[in-house]
Amino acid sequence: MPPFVRYLTPLVLFLALAALLYKGLALNPREVPSPLIGKPAPEFTLPELKDASRQLSHTDFQGKVSLLNVWATWCVSCRAEHPLLMQLARQGVTIYGLDYKDSREDAQRWLQRFGDPYVANAFDADGRVGIDWGVYGTPETFVIDQQGIIRHKHIGPLTEEAIQREILPLIQQLKGEKG
């Protein structure tokens, strides 16, 4: 073994580490498998945000492919993803909202100001329903199929890339499944 081979060891170790880090860039550590995926949407009944006399519940998800977006007016990243939700709504995607630990007035003002992409919003003032849904930070977005089963969960703000690569293809696929 020529003498310099021994001195190459640190370099080789570093290159292995660099390869690992390169691979790591493509992975998403926030993609935590949710125990809810493949399970029916957790049961809830909550008042609607704009019209408190109306009720919204898990049964509303039946018979169509929809998104449930967990958001709040105090959440800065929710504001960042808001234009993307508007765009999805214009493309005809059914989006429900879960307004999480918020105040009714603030939330309504938010929707007036930035636009309302939601077909309806469940108003979860104390975050109880959020707990059942395993929400640990806003925003989060669930994809729910025609049987009302959760098929995908996106943690953190939606991005253009996530929508094009994951959300929209999944919605297409789910629409193809028999309701």
């Binding site: 001195y7 370099l11 550590p29 498998p33």
Partner: protein, 665 residues
């Protein structure tokens, strides 16, 4: 206009860095004095432009200029003045600017304080630092410009993360960066020596004070971070093994190994290759930390806004810097000469043991930090590596390290008669075992861990005292001591003494607080009383309280011991106006032997709250230890011999031990 000037100054700094990375280096190789002479003014120029750029960003925050995107995201008109300034480095872009400014500051320091070094050496060192600077400045300009504008400008900014609105956190990042970036000086000295092919005792002597100072800053930064986590996060923890904490801890471990290894290289000319490798490693780990924090490959409570494009840029930069320097090492190392030999019982071999243990621990921390990524990349699933892994590792290796630490300073270089050494430490050994056994007695603590910790600390303390006694005997009394203080090597010795004492203090703090802290999670209505250890806590309710940019529920908890009031604590639950995240401010009664710590949980209605009460014995000793270590490092760095004019003797010595004198395979 001012942000554009800042942006422009940044570009000019990059231009200067490009010149600095090339001309002085080439000039030093083909002996062109005018090119070599460029190094110092270029360093000053870079510093001036970066200071200008930094001042422009500070001005944008002070003037609430929300047309600058970065200010709009992290500034706010309601922020108190101090946090308007600390918001400059409160997020990704600005913290990079601070990084670059500090790097330029270190360059200027090298340019100023190394007048007695050969000019070629200084030129090479500054050129290497210029290369590092190119990387960071172009990273900033191409992916993370802090001066990007936004149109239309928002009326109000998004505010600095409330967690960071704290005096401790305002100074924690600058300290830490001083440490990270300071390691670049040792790195540059090593690279310059590899390029020049002259690897000798003089090189080690030049590197030592720089490494020590950088290491002191790193120590202070980590200690501050730990202290902040303790009082700000509201559950009394002081270290979390979070990837970002590990990112600062790994360079510290490697730096500690380097500080010791440099001593051997300077005094005995041994371990040269190993020392060079450690110098490369310490800075590489600082850079790796930057990558981990900003690329989003790992999740962390500290997460900066992450972006894969940025990650790719830093990874390429890492490959260039680390890959390049390790290639240079592989090329040059075979021809570095061996140093003086030593026997099995000698200070060299004990220091080698300490080095190997430190590097092993660094490797294990790295493995633990990257394990989630490794599992994910290999498709084995998702895991998280938590406390048990890291703690087991420390419990396993630190006793061995402490044993070596105690014996090391008592051992002579090259050769020490084993029976003499045994005689010197015999008493310490017996005393420490006895102290450990007594401490572990059921009457006192009844805990074996506490016994081991006491034994280790007493071992360290008693061997330090033995060493001090030996030294004073040789110096014959107080006058000798004074001379010792002013003479060469004296402060280095006392610095070591203090730093090792800091480790003894730290061990006691860590063990006692983990073994004996008491925690109670209770519901308390106004007037309720709870007994915890010898202390009685009475909750007197919570009231609304207004801060400059937050609303708070401010609780009042009175603490009694033996019917006597010990403390009145005011834990707070704050809601900041912009980022309405609830924040806890713990109420702490600090003491030398114990802390009492109260934090508010959630309101439970009717004026009742969930309250967390802690009794934390010896917790202050953790940070006291950190402070002693830092103080010791400073003392050692101030040793007069580092400021000596370079003597001919050193030069002559160096020539003999220099590069290529003997070849080893």
């Amino acid at each position: 206009m001012i942000p554009e000037l800042g942006h422009f100054a940044l570009i000019l700094a990059l231009c200067l860095a490009l010149v600095q990375a090339t001309f002085p280096l080439i000039g030093s190789l083909n002996r062109t004095p005018s090119w070599v002479a460029l190094a110092r003014p270029l360093a000053w120029g870079q510093f001036a432009f970066l200071a200008l750029s930094f001042a422009a960003l500070v001005q944008a925050f002070l003037g609430d200029d929300f047309s600058v995107l970065y200010v709009a995201q992290h500034g706010n008109t309601q922020l108190p003045l101090m946090y308007k300034i600390s918001a400059v480095w409160g997020a990704h872009e600005g913290s990079l600017l601070l990084w670059a400014l500090i790097l330029a500051g270190w360059m200027v320091a090298v340019a100023t304080f190394s007048r007695n070094l050969p000019r070629e050496m200084v030129a090479r060192v500054l050129s290497v630092m210029g290369m590092v600077s190119i990387g960071f400045l172009s990273f900033m300009l191409f992916t993370s410009n802090p001066f990007d504008r936004v149109f239309p400008a928002p009326l109000e900014g998004g505010e600095l993360n409330p967690l960071l609105q704290d005096p401790g956190l305002a100074i924690h990042p600058p300290m830490l960066y001083m440490g990270y970036v300071g390691m670049s000086v040792a790195f540059s000295f090593a690279i310059a020596a590899l390029i020049g092919g002259k690897m000798d005792a003089a090189w080690a002597r030049w590197s030592r004070p720089w490494t020590l100072v950088a290491w002191v800053f790193l120590t202070i930064g980590i200690t501050l971070g730990s202290w902040w986590a303790y009082y700000e996060l509201g559950w009394g923890g002081w270290w979390f093994w979070d990837p970002v904490e590990n990112a600062s801890f790994m360079p510290w471990l490697a730096g500690t190994a380097l500080v010791h290894s440099l001593a051997v290289t300077e005094k005995r000319g041994a371990f040269k290759r190993w020392t060079v490798l450690l110098a490369l490693l310490a800075f590489s780990l600082s850079l790796l930390g930057t990558f981990l924090v900003r690329s989003g490959v790992l999740t962390s409570v500290h997460a900066f806004a992450t972006d894969p494009a940025r990650g790719l840029f830093i990874l390429m930069f890492l490959c260039l810097v680390i890959g390049g320097s390790l290639s240079l090492y592989a090329w040059r190392a075979p021809s570095i000469s061996r140093g003086g030999g030593f026997e099995l019982v000698s200070r060299e071999s004990l220091l080698l043991g300490n080095n190997l243990l430190l590097v092993l621990i660094t490797a294990l921390v790295l493995l633990g930090t990257l394990a989630p990524l490794l599992y994910d990349a290999l498709g084995w699933g998702k895991i998280s590596v938590g406390f048990p892994w890291f703690n087991t590792m420390f419990v396993l290796f630190s006793p061995l390290m402490i044993l070596l630490m105690g014996a090391g300073p008592l051992t002579r270089w090259k050769h020490h008669n084993p029976s003499d050494l045994l005689r010197a430490v015999r008493l310490s050994f017996v005393v420490s075992i006895a102290a450990g056994v007594v401490a572990a007695l059921p009457l006192l603590t009844g805990s074996i861990s506490a016994g081991i910790a006491v034994a280790l600390s007493v071992w360290l303390l008693s061997t330090l005292l033995t060493g001090l006694r030996q030294r004073l005997q040789r110096r014959s009394g107080v006058r000798g001591l004074l001379a010792d203080w002013k003479g060469q090597g004296g402060r280095a010795y006392y610095g070591m003494w203090l730093a090792h004492l800091g480790i003894a203090t730290f061990i006691i703090g860590v063990t006692f607080v983990t073994q004996f802290d008491i925690e109670k999670d209770v519901r308390m209505a106004p007037g309720d009383e709870i007994q915890l250890n010898q202390y009685l806590f009475r909750f007197d309710g919570a009231a609304q309280h207004m801060g400059p940019n937050y609303r708070a529920q401010r609780g009042t908890v009175k603490v009694f011991r033996d019917e006597r009031e010990v403390a009145v604590l005011h834990p707070e639950k704050r809601v900041y106006q912009v980022q309405t995240k609830p924040m806890t401010e713990a109420g702490i009664d600090a003491g030398f032997l114990r802390d009492i710590y109260v934090s508010l949980g959630e309101p439970l209605g009717g004026g009742a709250w969930s309250v967390r009460l802690y009794y934390k014995p010896f917790v202050r000793w953790i940070w006291l230890g950190g402070a002693l270590i830092a103080l010791g490092g400073l003392l050692a760095a101030s040793d007069p011999r580092y400021r000596m004019r370079l003597r001919a003797r050193v030069g002559a010595q160096a020539a003999g031990k220099g590069f290529g004198a003997e070849s080893t395979a």
